[in-house]
Symmetry: C2
Subunit: 340 residues, 2 copies
């Protein structure tokens, strides 16, 4: 099993260092993670949160390209509806070039009402805007020479998108997929898959197997790195600390829900908007989140590994450099040297 980081700089709620300080602490944390053996970092993209989540994700990745050596540099995800497609492709390709081909471009539709409201964009347009931008990205990265695009939201005439990326035909595209149908579609489309932060090892294992089967049926050589499973991760050595960390996780999820919910109530299928349900929240903070002492977490990670998960993206890794180092010293060696 390989490990990556998921998330990005942000303040703890109620604890507000300067934006600069928190970004530089995050950078130090990523550099240390690479030294410890983490093989990827996937940054979120969020706007107007008031608690410093990463906004200009591709700029932070460009910087990290200059400070890291081998780590894959990912987004999870770039929210396509908010971006000028041509500028986005140029920016992504530039990250790929300066990093020597290390970009993993995760893309999505966005799920937080507060962000669409901030951009004065109707959330009902998210699907159509996402699809148009994705069509443009694929056209830009597969067209020979100049092309035009005339869509609902964007128009371009006779353009060539420079620079060309290093990875050919283009950096891997990653998308979140949940149902069997969307997982199969993702695998067939040649994309990689991000698995959401909830679900038992059995459920996750079924998703990995579904992806692998569809990928192989489509003629792809299955790469275990191509499925990233995301889990919150907090070290807790005592029952009290476990409860405290679960509470921190609960508060964060509640905050994300508050940012996501439209005034009119939850949008069906938007899984970030139902955390208020007590049973769901209990699962998210207890059975889904990896919270506990190292020996327990090793056992739980091995259950995921046995279920077919070979690329685990950890949120926060305990939230400190100290916890990261404990992970690197006590947990990661249990998974080193495995063929994956």
């Amino acid at each position: 099993m390989k490990f990556g980081l998921f998330g990005g700089a942000r303040t703890s709620m109620g604890n507000q260092p300067s934006d600069s300080q928190q970004i530089h602490e995050f950078i130090d944390y990523v550099l240390e993670a690479e030294d410890l053996g983490f093989e990827s970092v996937f940054l979120v993209e969020h706007h107007f949160t008031g608690f410093g989540q990463v906004s200009a994700s591709l700029n932070l990745l460009s910087y990290l390209a200059g400070r890291t050596r081998t780590m894959r540099l990912g987004t999870a995800v770039m929210v396509l509806p908010w971006h000028n497609p041509a500028l986005l492709v140029e920016q992504a390709a530039t990250v790929d070039v300066v990093s020597g081909g290390r970009l993993d471009l995760g893309i999505g539709r966005g799920y937080r009402y507060s962000e669409f409201a901030g951009f004065c964009m109707d959330m009902a347009e998210a699907d159509a805007r996402y699809q148009e931008c994705l069509d443009f990205i694929q056209k830009a990265w597969t067209s020979k020479g100049r092309f035009s695009h005339h869509g609902t939201y964007w128009n371009y005439d006779n353009v060539v998108i420079e620079p060309a990326p290093v990875q050919r035909p283009h950096p891997p595209l990653w998308i979140g997929a949940n149902s069997d149908a969307s997982i199969t579609k993702t695998a067939r489309a040649g994309m990689n898959m991000l698995v959401a932060q909830n679900g038992s090892p059995e459920v996750v294992g079924h998703k990995v197997a579904t992806f692998r089967k569809a990928a192989e049926e489509a003629g792809r050589v299955y790469d275990p790195f191509s499925v990233g499973v995301t889990r919150a991760f907090h070290l807790a050595y005592t029952a009290e600390e476990r409860t405290r960390q679960q509470e921190l996780r609960r508060r964060f999820l509640q905050h994300v829900q508050d940012l996501s919910l439209p005034p009119s109530g939850p949008i069906p299928g938007n899984h970030f908007q139902g955390h208020g349900d007590a049973e769901k929240m209990r699962k998210l903070t207890e059975s889904d989140a990896l919270i506990g002492p190292p020996d327990e977490l090793i056992k739980r990670l091995k259950v995921y590994e046995a279920a077919g998960v070979e690329h685990m993206l950890l949120i926060d890794v305990g939230g400190s450099l100290e916890a990261l180092r404990i992970f690197g010293k006590e947990i990661l060696p249990e998974f080193k040297g495995k063929k994956s």
Copy 2:
């Protein structure tokens, strides 16, 4: 006099290495320039050129922030009409944060018809789009807490732009100014000034003096670094080489004009669209461009210095690492240690 680089990666016309190769060669060139004593790099932003000019300038600067130590990282210029203002402010602030406060944000309206045509944007809207974006930038960087913006082209509700930049109140804004009136306005607005690539030392000296006078009258402490004068720079040791370098310069300017001219003919006041005039082109390639052997160029640079120019941005510095090193060894020491 301090020196900076102006421009960015691009292929020579008719000579097409890969995009990745040319960007990495440009990166090596910038890193070497910092070691030699260059104090700034200002990147252009261009799109759809087909010869690899830098498109995602703030991403390349983010990368350079991770590889350089002291150099100021500038844009000359970001073309505001093409950008989502909120995303642009987030990106610029991120460069400022990761670089430890080294961003110099040059901004402009754009001047190439081919780029506006590529974006399917009416060039007649450039001024209004520029002004709206600039208003947003200044609001974002001076508002306490959340704000809204409802303009002609963009709308935002109740947003806070994160991260905050390191430089306070915000990174310096640089704009191109030409007439006495616009120079005075720039100085009074607290902005820095980019001086165009044409004009005799006397003309340029008048502009610097006009800026300085207006800045001091407005209560600013005049910083000589705050006026950047741009000049093409090519080493040429023989008459034949001088002619060849002038021809290279002429071809480049002609190409830029071809990209800039609307089918309907030149737009009044757009100084990138009149190079075809033989006398103007002669001046641009002979008296304005710094083309010659080191001893001649030292003398010419000292004329600019005597006219008040203390921040000289050089285009290409001869187009090779070798020429850059000759500049560092033979020319730059003539200006070292001067109080500026």
